[in-house]
Symmetry: C2
Subunit: 341 residues, 2 copies
């Protein structure tokens, strides 16, 4: 974590094909991604049209497909062949399905009314159909994983288990004035990074990497997931609503121990007091708390933490042979720091 | 379905060991069941103690373990060896986990406050932790299935998918005055029988049966599941609350198209009218509707439908070689008709 403060974008060696990769790092796996997208769409077509409608409403509603892109890039960057690309595509779809299922269930848990700038599935379809549609997507992921070897299924299942445990841990720390950064890391490791970790691991394994390489790509997923969630937490505070697709300060309102909240509670006695007194986060109190969370020093500190993860990721990437896929992975990971959505 | 009206219990050929089997048909797989129970308990031990607590609260709360018993008996009745019993035990646990997960999610959907005579997990732990604990049990089942071959994982996953579709179909028919018996069968085939179908199929497959035998045991599961659900629907109307562990007439109150409701709506203009007018099912209206549903002719008709399934099951059982396991299966299936819990 020593080099945490800066990200030297210039040091990324750019190959000839890098211009396209820099403007859209996923372009290099465009064909694989299109195949994944087509199959994902087919899998959502349930015999019950309401299930299909809810799934499509969420999945077609503008997700970034970060998990499938990550898996496909890792697979290719590890030298994965065309021969087994179907497996990598299925893994990519399975993880996107699991992620989508958790979004539906999260909206129920948080009573989230807006997602990606539109009414959430919960707001539109009510909670029973939304809950069941989430279960349906879990089952589809499970079905898809059937073709994999036991250790790969276990990896995916364990990521899901950690995910549920992360949710409960986050619930346990809600409205806490004393959650530590270590607590925070544990929550987001389980809640967000576990799927990226599993994605990196499975993709490297399918590509035929030796165990050292599989381990490296697992760690790559972990750091990528951590950086992603840290920036997500920052965006929740910074907004604006039009970009993040939900009200600014949602985490704060719901008492979620997000990165800015945990940092501020440790450094700002006023916020700590507000949390300890369980001040209702609305009106003037909410505005004041948001102001504290937007303190430029605090934002810089949070960003530096995410940047530290990105630096670790870039170090790990050096263990791979140079390739346009590796460059795209580097670009995707770097992008996390500056993303606005 | 011709022999629907009577069940000739005497015609079951009883071997020497049958006395014990008749008083407790599961006794013959007691050791396997105990092994399944021990492993199931271990699997519920999450890193998050709240998840473990909710799972144990449900699973230790007096379930009948009908699915594990069914799977283990089918496995043994099909000649399954001790060598692969671990696989059969894992399949039994996986199906019980899936069933338990759906109970937690069902309680959320139906706002069920009582289950098995105790406050439901929802009533005790609130809906977010209950929802997540359900997801956790799905994931544990998924993890356990990792060791199976692709086609077995698919069978389990497809049962889960059907299960979610059955839930939504049931929701679609809520408060319907015109749901047909065909609709009803489709709902319970998906919602309840799909897991028994998968259980029979997987158990026979693991036992090394040829495809005809696997097909027979799938059908056995199907009929067993249908009979079980039909009697469950009757018990909801007949009670009493102390035995069924929840308020009498819950299905009626919630507008669920249960067997008595669907039969009565087709035969009794008064009930049909009540359903059409969406009469609030409480107080005198509820009592009157319950009285209609308890009409002895209607109850006999519903029971005959369940008995028809049992007859089909007994025919299927004849395809197996005689064995004490087969006798126990027959006893378990016969028991469905007269069970009071």
């Amino acid at each position: 974590m020593k080099k945490a403060k800066t990200i030297d974008l210039a040091s990324r060696r750019a190959p000839a094909s890098a211009n396209r990769a820099l403007s859209n790092p996923a372009a290099i796996v465009e064909a694989d991604l299109a195949a994944a997208e087509a199959k994902l769409t087919r899998l959502l077509d349930s015999n019950e049209s309401l299930i299909a409608e809810i799934c499509h409403y969420l999945v077609d509603g503008g997700g970034k497909r970060l998990r499938p892109i990550f898996i496909l890039l890792v697979y290719r960057a590890c030298g994965g062949s065309d021969e087994k690309i179907e497996d990598a595509i299925d893994a990519a779809i399975a993880l996107e399905l699991i992620h989508s299922a958790t979004l539906l269930h999260d909206d129920i848990i948080d009573a989230g009314r807006l997602r990606r700038g539109k009414p959430s599935a919960l707001a539109r379809y009510g909670f029973a159909p939304t809950l069941i549609a989430g279960d349906y997507m879990f089952c589809r992921a499970f079905e898809l994983c059937g073709r994999f070897e036991e250790h790969l299924v276990r990896t995916a299942a364990q990521a899901c288990i950690e995910l549920t445990e992360g949710e409960v841990m986050e619930g346990r720390l809600r409205h806490s004035a004393s959650a530590t950064i270590a607590d925070y890391r544990q929550v987001i490791t389980r809640k967000t990074a576990s799927l990226f970790y599993a994605g990196g691991k499975v993709a490297a394994d399918l590509a035929g990497m030796p165990s050292g390489g599989i381990d490296a790509m697992s760690r790559l997923g972990l750091t990528m997931g951590l950086a992603f969630q840290m920036i997500d937490d920052l965006l929740d505070v910074l907004g604006p609503e039009e970009k993040i697709g939900k009200p600014v300060g949602s985490d704060l309102r719901e008492g979620i121990p997000s990165l800015p909240v945990v940092l501020a509670a440790a450094r700002n006695p006023e916020l700590k007091q507000m949390l300890q007194n369980r001040v209702e986060m609305s009106g003037a109190a909410f505005q004041r708390a948001l102001e504290i969370l937007r303190d430029p020093k605090l934002i810089a500190e949070a960003r530096a933490m995410a940047a530290a993860e990105v630096m670790i990721a870039r170090d790990i990437l050096r263990e791979l042979r140079p390739s346009p896929y590796r460059d795209s992975l580097a670009a995707i990971i770097d992008e996390q720091i500056d993303r606005e959505v």
